[in-house]
């Protein structure tokens, strides 16, 4: 009953979205305000409707109605209430509905803005949002119905919305439950964060298309969507970081990023989005790179759709995770169609989007910004090549050939290094024109400081070339950025007579995006410290020891004190070891690596014991082999230097982002 209702609401919303498309196009063509406004109102209605459909699904999930396939696959009796609610986005069908819900929410938020100055954009923004919404709703309706129920037919069990002839309804008493590996706070908020980022990028894209169609190709669309873009980028970045943290905490291989196609598919829109954030400034300040910005936002949109498909194709950790689900061809058709239409529009308006001034100086801010973009595109091409290479090689040679993490690490690290160097130079260059002389005058002090840091690290005993170069670049970026803060505050302090810190605060407040951006630069290189630490200096050991014995690694002694095995509520068994950690004779504390075994799914889960400091992480895994006992337990120990800076950098990143998006007191843009 509830399910039929929920499904009906999805179908009605789909029809409403189609009406939005029709009314929007007609309103724009005939310049009819009434039709455009009708489309706007219809768009506002989609949000409560998708909300109702989602509430219907959540009701089924929380009340354990396992006769519905989706409820059966993602929940079980033993799961706590909050996990049953978050199971909304725990599987494919539900997460597509969640996508639609976010899309309708964001489109409604846009529909509510004051449109006086931009009336010609309105219908087209609605049309693009409604097409995207209709696409995702259609997936729910035709392919991945969250409300389909189980039936017993002559040939076996099947899931369908309506009763197949001769079928008997099936009523399972319990469900399979969410994979225990996914029952982690990081994993519960990771998908919504990614999706928030994904869906927010639809809005700038919608405005870009509106600008292309209406021919209003100045930077108005960029100014309107500036904050949307920043928020989209924030959530996408957070989604990626949370995913990394989850991998580090749960997967028990001592790492955080495995260059899996699924990870890369979320990383690719981040790359184009980051390039876009940088290059829109050239358009705002200098009226340049307009065609390029359009291309970037179109690419970001289609990579977002591609990413949603890949992360939701249901074939995790596959080396060739393509088109195994029924929705594969639909996604590729939609990506193809939107890409062709968008690029055709771009070509049609190509000459209108010509730069207002010619780029002259190779060292000007806009030239360096373009260079930054090319490097991001380089990383994108590497990632894309890595993902599609198995397909290409199979087509070309009939032999499947894959590339793994070494490929990505080798091909991207010079590009990331160049990006860091650019992060150190570009903030000091001026718009329009910079020469080696002017740039050198600003750069020499921070550069010398960075070289001093490199020498100090070398003297301290680190002779690895990658690490030396990496830490040198990190130091350069930090010094340049602090120097920029200091220069600005000092100048303001001198002219206004304000105290230095007051001047610093007011300076940042008047120039939020710039100084927020600088904070984000610092956060990025702090993350780089963590990445260099674990990539270059990770060491590991393993061994089977009995109680009282110890392993040692990187100056630490890891002593096996005891092990206990017990059942806990929630239907799983825990095997938990107690280890004492010493450095020399000094006792540092205890670690408790454990293994959880879930009876219901027969799935074990490894939870590492981690001692985390600013200098290093000691990461201990209790390896699996029954029985783990006082006489023998196997431990694998990783020493991960500096990895904490990855997470510290993420927190500073959020702070920088808050500075950048904080609403101004007087705002002219909506």
């Amino acid at each position: 009953m509830i399910a039929d209702f929920g499904y009906g609401v999805i179908v009605a919303t789909f029809l409403l979205a189609l009406f939005c498309v029709g009314a929007g196009v007609y309103g724009a063509q005939t310049k009819s305000y009434r039709w455009a406004d009708s489309a706007r109102r219809a768009m506002l209605l989609t949000f409560p409707m998708v909300t109702i459909a989602s509430l219907a699904l959540i009701y089924l999930l929380t009340t354990g109605q396992y006769e519905y396939q989706y409820v059966y696959t993602v929940t079980s009796n033993s799961m706590p209430l909050y996990l049953k609610i978050t199971a909304w986005w725990g599987g494919q069908a539900g997460s597509l509905l969640f996508w639609s819900w976010l899309m309708s929410a964001f489109a409604s938020a846009v529909a509510l803005r004051k449109w006086d100055r931009d009336r010609e954009f309105l219908p087209w923004v609605i049309v693009v949002s409604a097409v995207t919404l209709a696409f995702f709703l259609s997936l729910n309706i035709f392919f991945e119905n969250p409300f389909a129920r189980w039936w017993q037919t002559a040939s076996g069990e099947m899931a369908a919305m309506f009763r197949p002839s001769g079928a008997i309804p099936l009523n399972p008493s319990d469900g399979q439950g969410l994979n225990p590996l996914l029952r982690h706070p990081g994993m519960i908020i990771h998908p919504p964060m990614l999706y928030l980022g994904f869906v927010s990028f639809v809005i700038p894209f919608a405005f870009a298309i509106a600008a292309l169609i209406t021919g209003r190709t100045d930077d108005r669309w960029i100014r309107i969507t500036r904050r949307w873009t920043l928020v989209a980028w924030l959530f996408l970045s957070l989604g990626l970081v949370l995913g990394a943290r989850w991998a580090y905490d749960v997967l028990g291989w001592g790492g955080y990023w495995g260059w899996d196609p699924v990870e890369i598919s979320a990383f690719m829109p981040w790359l184009t989005g980051t390039a876009f954030l940088h290059s829109v400034m050239s358009q705002e300040k200098r009226g340049m790179l307009k065609q390029w910005n359009m291309l970037l936002i179109i690419l970001t949109y289609d990579l977002v759709i591609f990413g949603t498909f890949l992360t939701r194709s249901g074939v995790l950790s596959s080396v060739h995770a393509f088109a195994q689900s029924a929705i594969g061809p639909m996604f590729f058709a939609f990506i193809g169609a939107t890409l062709i239409i968008s690029v055709s529009l771009l070509i049609y308006r190509w000459s209108d989007l010509r730069a207002e001034v010619e780029m002259k100086s190779m060292l000007s801010r806009e030239a360096l910004s373009l260079l930054n973009n090319l490097l991001f595109m380089g990383v994108l091409v590497v990632c894309f090549w890595g993902v599609i290479f198995p397909l290409i090689s199979e087509l070309a040679t009939n032999q499947k050939v894959t590339v793994g993490p070494p490929f990505y690490e080798r091909a991207t690290s010079p590009l990331f290094g160049a990006l860091m160097l650019l992060m150190g130079i570009a903030p000091l260059s001026a718009w329009g024109h910079s020469s080696i002389k002017t740039l050198g005058r600003a750069l020499w002090k921070p550069a010398i400081a960075a070289v001093v840091v490199m020498i100090a690290i070398f003297v301290a005993g680190i002779h690895n070339a990658v690490a030396l170069l990496g830490f040198g670049l990190v130091a350069l970026v930090i010094f340049v950025t602090l120097y920029e803060f200091w220069r600005g505050a000092q100048a303001r302090h001198r002219t206004t007579g304000e105290g230095f810190f007051t001047a610093l605060g007011r300076l940042a407040a008047r120039n939020r995006r710039r100084y927020g951006g600088y904070i984000i630069h610092i956060s990025m290189v702090l993350m780089a410290i963590g990445i260099l630490g674990i990539e270059v200096f990770q060491t590991e050991t393993q061994g089977t020891i009995s109680e009282g014995q110890a392993l040692s690694l990187a100056g630490y002694t890891i002593k096996f004190d005891s092990v206990a095995q017990f059942d806990v509520p929630g239907g799983h068994n825990v095997t938990r070891a107690v280890l004492s950690i010493y450095r020399g004779d000094q006792y540092l504390g205890a670690l408790h690596p454990r293994r959880d075994y879930f009876y219901e799914s027969g799935q074990p889960m490894t939870i590492p014991g981690v001692r985390s400091t600013l200098a290093d992480d000691l990461y201990v895994i209790l390896a699996d082999w029954q029985p783990i006992s006082a006489i023998g337990a196997t431990f694998k120990v990783y020493h991960n230097p500096l990895v904490n800076w990855l997470w510290i950098g993420s927190i500073i990143f959020i702070l920088g982002m808050l500075v950048a998006v904080w609403p101004d007191k007087v705002t002219s843009d909506g």
């Binding site: 008493s173 596959s318 260079l371 380089g378 499947k400 590339v403 793994g404 074990p604 699996d624 694998k636």
Partner: protein
Amino acid sequence: MNRIFSSGRAKFIVGGLLILAAVIYLIVSSTQASAQYFMTVDELNAKGKSAVGVNMRVSGAVIGSTIQYDPKTLNLTFDVANVPGDNKVIEAQGGLAAVLHQAVIDPNRTHMKVLYNGPKPDLLRDEAQAIMTGHLGEDGVFYVDELLLKCPTKYQEAVPSQAAAGG
């Protein structure tokens, strides 16, 4: 058209081409350095001695009864049975879970012995799909550096086989 060839533009075009060349070089050289053939057990078997020592990826179905683990040395050995590599073939035979099940119970499939050193992965079990990166040794054992496991029954394809009929 003259503007395109003015010195101001030329240096940007040259700069852009240099970056393009660098990216292409990075991709080509890294691909050559780290490309791995993806093979089925049958394909590897057909190659025979010529495949010994070559870095590659092989996919197979884990035969649960052969899993052996020595916690002292962390040596993990098990046998895998041949499964088709082509997704279309897998779909035609009823999906990954069914294909893995068939591979394990069919005594006529090609089997291969596998050795991996490290903690026993959580997902290693009967009828899991093992995606193994490593090389074939002279002794016919496949030495695995990286072991990826998939249990398709844990995800979407599952149907409630023990579900009570009624309603």
